[in-house]
């Protein structure tokens, strides 16, 4: 088991290095690295200093190493577009994106899992078939269109929720939260629902598919053959076996949410990392792009790792590993 964890950590490190490499490439070779670090308004003296610091005349691996050391310290240079250190920008925008993403994920799970379980158990029922048809519609709706439609309905026509922005936020140390104010919460509703809808559909379909597969297995058949009540067969056996692989996929979906947040934040003008990244792409603001890449990679890698560890905790087959001592002939 320890070997498993170490292997995973090693892989994670590799991925981070690879991503760091791409980010480094972006940073150094697309546009001017001195500009990237100092912004447009530096003096010639500062530029010379930084050029020497960067070791632009040094060999490639050394530049890479320096980039990495700077990255680890959180120095990503200065944004072309806003002239502000990138690290500050990221820190300022992170809470908004995280709050949005987590709310959306929570919503998606709360809605998607029960719906999927129901559709799986009552495969041929009317409601289940209706839900499946609905889910097809759900994956045919692009996130931005959902946002637009919700704005049209609930903001323009009904006026229940605001159509942009985050509302009032409360600062708690370095974190700014919109969850403690009424306007903050109201502003959160539409974007969170938008972001959650696609995920709900995906999770629902996934859970249903997994449930159907589990219900076809021999051990479920044997459980029925032993006369176990339906409730036990469905919720003690089938559900547990279903949720185990679902957990993995859901964990990976969390990464997807961060990406789809880009779209949602754009539609609702939500001041998060996603909007920042999009504006960076439009403007070719390399420092921001490169930093966002590293940050997002870190996020994905951490989530993957966490999911792997979770899997380990839940599936006894992995816990015992391949240790022969446990097997008695």
């Amino acid at each position: 088991m320890l070997a498993f964890v170490l292997r995973r950590l090693f892989q994670a490190a590799l991925v981070m290095l690879a991503v760091g490499f791409i980010a480094f490439g972006l940073f150094t070779y697309v546009g001017d690295p001195v500009n990237n670090l100092l912004g447009q308004d530096a003096t010639a003296e500062q530029r010379r200093q930084v050029a020497a610091d960067l070791g632009l005349d040094r060999p490639f691996p050394m530049q890479y190493a320096r980039f990495l050391s700077r990255a680890v310290r959180g120095e990503f240079g200065v944004s072309y577009r806003l002239g502000v250190p990138v690290a500050d920008l990221l820190a300022e925008r992170l809470p908004a994106t995280l709050e949005l993403s987590c709310s959306a994920m929570a919503l998606a799970l709360l809605a998607g899992v029960p719906l999927g379980v129901y559709a799986g158990l009552h495969r041929r029922g009317r409601l289940a078939r209706f839900l499946m048809a609905g889910s097809l519609l759900g994956i045919s709706l692009p996130t931005f269109l959902i946002g637009i439609l919700l704005i049209f309905l609930f903001s323009v026509r009904l006026g229940w929720f605001p159509s942009f922005g985050r509302g009032e936020v409360v600062r708690l140390g370095f974190w700014s939260t919109g969850l403690l104010t009424q306007s903050g919460l109201r502003s959160l509703v539409l974007p969170a629902v938008t972001l959650a809808l696609f995920q709900t559909t995906l999770i629902g379909r996934l859970v249903r598919a997994q449930m159907l597969e589990v219900l076809r297995t021999d051990y479920i058949r044997f459980a029925r053959a032993r006369g176990l009540p339906d409730r036990v067969v469905h919720f003690r056996h089938a559900l547990r076996n279903t949720l185990v692989p679902v957990v993995t996929v859901v964990g990976l979906q969390l990464g997807g949410i961060v990406a789809f947040a880009i779209i949602t934040e754009t539609v609702f003008q939500w001041p998060g990392l996603g909007l920042l990244f999009l504006q960076a792409v439009q403007f070719v603001d390399v420092p921001v792009m490169s930093a966002y890449l590293v940050l997002v990679a870190l996020l994905f890698v951490s989530i993957n790792l966490a999911v792997d560890l979770l899997y380990l905790a839940v599936d006894p087959r992995l816990r015992a590993g391949a240790s022969l001592a446990d097997r008695v002939a």
């Binding site: 297995t217 021999d218 051990y219 058949r221 044997f222 459980a223 029925r224 053959a225 032993r226 006369g227 176990l228 009540p229 339906d230 036990v232 003690r236 056996h237 547990r240 076996n241 185990v244 839940v314 599936d315 006894p316 087959r317 015992a320 446990d326 097997r327 008695v328 002939a329």
Partner: protein, 343 residues
């Protein structure tokens, strides 16, 4: 008991107790997109209390479906179209889902082919045993667990109390099948339906599992419907055997008789095909042709295209099962001249 009816009951005199399992004219159909396939066509058999009846035949003959029909777990769209299944005299083929559920485990136990996939990998074996017992018998959790451990010891897994905490992947194949047996018998059923219990095991393990099966059932007086294509197993533990072909039973009788002197041509060919270790030069025997697939069963006797002794009557009329001594055989060759009409 009338002994000349086609869907005959066991003709052996002196069996006072009613059969534990009594199947009459069972017909299982599978509707597909185009047409309806008949997988089990008028099967009748009985299993007496404490008896082991072997149901043999090639793959696809309909043996497993018969077993599934008995325990009420026919996979849809398969369904019982006609016939009766009686358990200890009571009809069970038309029961509701809830009533059938109560019977399973408590009155009828079932064992399937693959021990590897029969056990839920996420739960300990003790858990699975205890929950089965608690579903049918009034037991406290502690008592159920104690019994679970006792069962493990009973099937040869020691020490039961320790190993009850282990998960299925921590056991070898042979042990898992023994656990499966324990699970099937722990709620104390009267009948066990064993569907190819040894097929997935190594030969060396087969003997162990077979011996265990026989011992447990003998000790508890559990009747067994043993579905298999392995003649060796049949010879080992079956009291009587029924041979199945293309969804129909062609011969039924005491094992020793059927295996030594099979009367039905198919049974004869089948047993001749079993390779023996006696020094015998020559090729392995095989029967020409293949068993007809579902939906392609010929009219009349299903075996007639491959039968070396087929007559004209075999092509036209389907033979009924007729008693021959202690056996039931469905073959016109043994029927003698028909009452009236031409051969």
């Amino acid at each position: 008991m009338p002994s000349t009816q086609s869907s005959a009951e066991s003709p052996a005199p002196g069996r006072a107790a009613p059969p534990v399992l009594d199947i009459r004219d069972l017909r299982v159909e599978i509707p597909t997109r185009r047409r309806i396939l008949v997988a089990v066509d008028g099967v009748s058999l009985q299993v007496a209390p404490g008896e082991v009846l072997g149901l043999v035949g090639e793959s696809g003959a309909g043996k497993s479906l018969t077993g599934s029909a008995v325990i009420g777990l026919l996979e849809p769209p398969g369904r019982i179209a006609a016939g009766e299944i009686r358990l200890e005299g009571r009809r069970i083929d038309g029961l509701s889902h809830a009533e059938m559920r109560r019977l399973r485990g408590r009155r009828i136990g079932a064992v399937f082919q693959d021990p590897l996939t029969s056990l839920n990998p996420l739960f300990t074996v003790g858990d699975q045993l205890a929950e089965t017992m608690r579903a049918h018998l009034e037991l406290s959790p502690g008592e159920a667990w104690r019994r679970a451990a006792a069962w493990l010891d009973e099937v040869g897994i020691h020490p039961g109390a320790v190993r009850a905490h282990h998960h299925p992947h921590q056991f070898s194949g042979g042990m898992r099948q023994r656990i499966v047996l324990a699970l099937a018998l722990c709620a104390e059923p009267r009948l066990l339906v064993a569907d190819e219990p040894t097929t997935a095991l190594d030969v060396s393990l087969q003997a162990q599992v077979v011996a265990l099966l026989r011992r447990l059932c003998r000790e508890r007086g559990v009747a067994v419907l043993l579905i298999t294509h392995d003649m060796g197993v049949v010879a080992e533990i079956c009291d009587r055997v029924a041979v199945m072909y293309a969804g129909r039973i062609v011969e039924t009788g005491p094992t020793a008789q059927v295996l030594r002197t099979p009367l039905h041509p198919y049974a004869r060919e089948l047993l001749a095909c079993v390779p023996s270790l006696a020094p015998q030069p020559g090729r392995l025997r095989q029967i020409d042709g293949a068993m007809p697939r579902l939906g392609e069963v010929p009219a009349g006797c299903a075996f007639h295209p491959r039968c070396p002794d087929a007559m004209e009557r075999c092509r036209r009329e389907r033979p009924e099962a007729r008693p021959e001594g202690e056996r039931l055989v469905a073959c016109w060759l043994l029927a003698g001249p028909p009452q009236g009409g031409t051969p």
